[in-house]
Amino acid sequence: MNTVTAPATGPGDAPAAGGPGSPAPPDAPWRTTWRRLWGDRGSRTALIAAVLLILVALTAPLLSRLGGWSPTAFDADAIDPYLGGLPHGPLGGISAEHWLGVEPVTGRDLFARVVHGAQVSLLIAFAATAIVVVTGTAAGIAAGYFGGRVDTVLSRLMDLTMSFPSLIFMIAMMSVAQDVNRVVLMTVVIGVFGWPGIARVVRAEALSLRHREFVEAARACGSGPWRILTRQVLPNISGPVIAYTTLLIPGMISTEAALSFLGVGVRPPTPSWGQMIAEAVAYYETDPLYFVVPSVFLFVAVLAFTVLGDALRDILDPQGGRP
């Protein structure tokens, strides 16, 4: 049995014992992964849901044209101005015209808004995840592989970033920075605080890979560090990174929604789920469907990516570093 070679320095770093012992041969693992993912009912459903949501986000303009309403078009006929703009009819004004009902006060089509909301929410979540993964992996590899001073500096930086009260900081930055592209700002702000988690996982992996035979062998053959990193190290940590990436997405979706919920998110009339829920909270009693529709979308998205991430982690990184 392999013993712990590199003592875990950071809290939460499970020792990366017994990882893959040889460079991963291409192709085969992917097929296995796919088979196992598809084989399990839970992860299959999650995968389908996630793919559907991404499709919805991609085809939002098309879908809303199909529904006949743009997300910003008002429909004064669908609401009763005397009752504070409550939708006419039961179930939040669900009708052949408005598939999921309408927003109170404005009469905007909920279906159109919720599919466009998917676009914003997923775009920000994916972009922020990308930032986090790229920065985190780079920092983690550098710290783990080079060690020494690089490691010290990067680890300090990770500690510092993790000590930031991130939500409070994000709210503050979003609410005071006005004249910028909100989507970009939000992506960056969310991304800035996420990288240390993945960096620690990668660092631990890289640390254990550094002295593996195949890495040593490559070094002995005269490969430069860049080549070793990209050819030997990166492929071997891709499993945990992919699993971790998938597990990051639901958190990013939630964070985006939370910021939008608190009113510091994207600019109107652009819809986003969190913002829609924030506006709908007050109506939970008088127009419950208005509250439920975006909540369900948000719930399904977070759930699907969590389940998917769990499954991928079980497959790709069975014992691996959990953040």
Partner: protein, 581 residues
Amino acid sequence: MSRRTRMLSASLSTSLALALLGACTAQGGGDRDPDGRQPGVATGTVIGGTPKRGGTLTVLSNQDFAHLDPARNWVMPTMDFGTRLIYRTLTTFRAEPGKKGSEIVPDLATDLGRSSDGGRTWTFTLKPGLVYEDGTPIRARDIKYNVERSFAPDLAGGPDYAQRYLADTEGYAGPLDGKHLDSIRTPDDRTIVFSLRRPVAEFSYTVTLPTFSPVPASREKGVQYDLRPFSSGPYRVESYARGKKLVLVRNTHWDAATDPVRKAYPDRIVVIQGLKGGQIDDRIIESAGVDASAVEWSDLQPSSVAKVLPKPGIRQRLSAERTGCTDMLALNTSRAPFDDPKLRLAMQYAVDKEAQVTANGGPALNDVATAYLPPSLTGGRAAAPVHDGPATGDVKKAEKLLAEAGRAGGFDTTITVSTGDKTRAEALQQSLSRVGIRLRIETVDPSVYYDTIGDTAGAPDMAISGWCPDYPSAATFLPFVFDGRTIKPKGNQGNVSQFRDKAVERRMDEIAAMADATAANKAWTALDREIQRTSPAVPLLWERKPLLVGDNIAGAFGHPSWTGQFDFAAIGLKDPSRSRG
């Protein structure tokens, strides 16, 4: 929410034109909508009858008071709260619903003030025997002291009428350095004389503001005075945890015999702050336990309207008095596109005011505005519109005007609104798109809203801006909103349109100098129509203030002078014994 409060905040409301007091008929504009569905109780109704003395009145609020310090209190309902409960002013408004509420009566003073020197000098005499909460006498110099405090830079934010009206105040920075104003004289403990830089016919109204209440110099605590104003009114502060809870108890030294206005029914008043708006509505609708003896401080949420209006039993606990403010769409006249009066005129027809009504809570809570001056300043009736046509707008006419201005295909433009007005901006965007005008919406946090639109160089093409008269005189309205000389490069407020018109300014000076209030009022109304023809702003809405009371509340009515907030001088409980939870 806070943006609305802040905006309306700024000033007192009004109900009736000074000159026409008592001369007019019913409140205009229609308290009943065409379907006969009233928003709440009819104007002038006192909810719950006459209160009984005693008990604890609870006030449920979603926010903290901006400032209770009388030198800094210029946020609308807080002025009501402060001057009705904690401090008295030289004169004050009657504690009565409807038009009588905008009449003033002497408070600390024995009369409404005597003017001499053509309205440049005003003399007030204090009633004998007035005392503070510790029994020490209230002296004329204490009122002078508080007026001086309003000049101190660290006590900023209060009404600035003293700065505007008093003579020889150049460079004065408050009494904390030991310097005092010569333009206020206190020959004895009961006499105070104000020397003004120009005649002010309605100065009796000006001294209803909290600036003109007494603060003894010995109690000076600088900015910390905010936390515990020294009481000259019927209640004193027992405890105040900012943003959480304020408890007022009876000031035993207050003598009802000297105070014709304040009824002071409850023994205790507890303000619970920082609650959630919708939950406040739910609690008061249910009226369980202590909540039966509670009133709401902040407006009924639009989402709660459907829980109230269909139920007659609850609806009769809803007050929805006019705020007396006008909500306008200010057009930036300083540059293209709205430096062209033709385009501005087109906007009068392109905007769908009906949609604005809907977006702002519906016709139960808003009327379409037909002029800049609210009905209360134009004889109680809504002025006949200068630009007639349906409230939903006149697309044909707007298109014709656009074509005449050479913009037949519409144009691109921008608006900045605070986050609370997002829906309204979207409604505007929608209605302007009918004539091809493409509107880009910028939302900013309420806290920086006025900084943003007040930066004249970077100001947007349009902004939603409101104004409330400080007391029933158009002199507290039009000169603040359309006088080009008041424009400041930064922190510009009021004249958001950056409207400059020499003729209008000349006319304003002429009217301000008029000694005859009736004539002045007619002249202001005419000037309003004159300005509308060049269209620096589109009048949008006259709002109401929807407020619920618990079912043990009595004596509640929306006071016309406090933008429809309950008059805390007259409110109380039906059955005080039920209020102890």
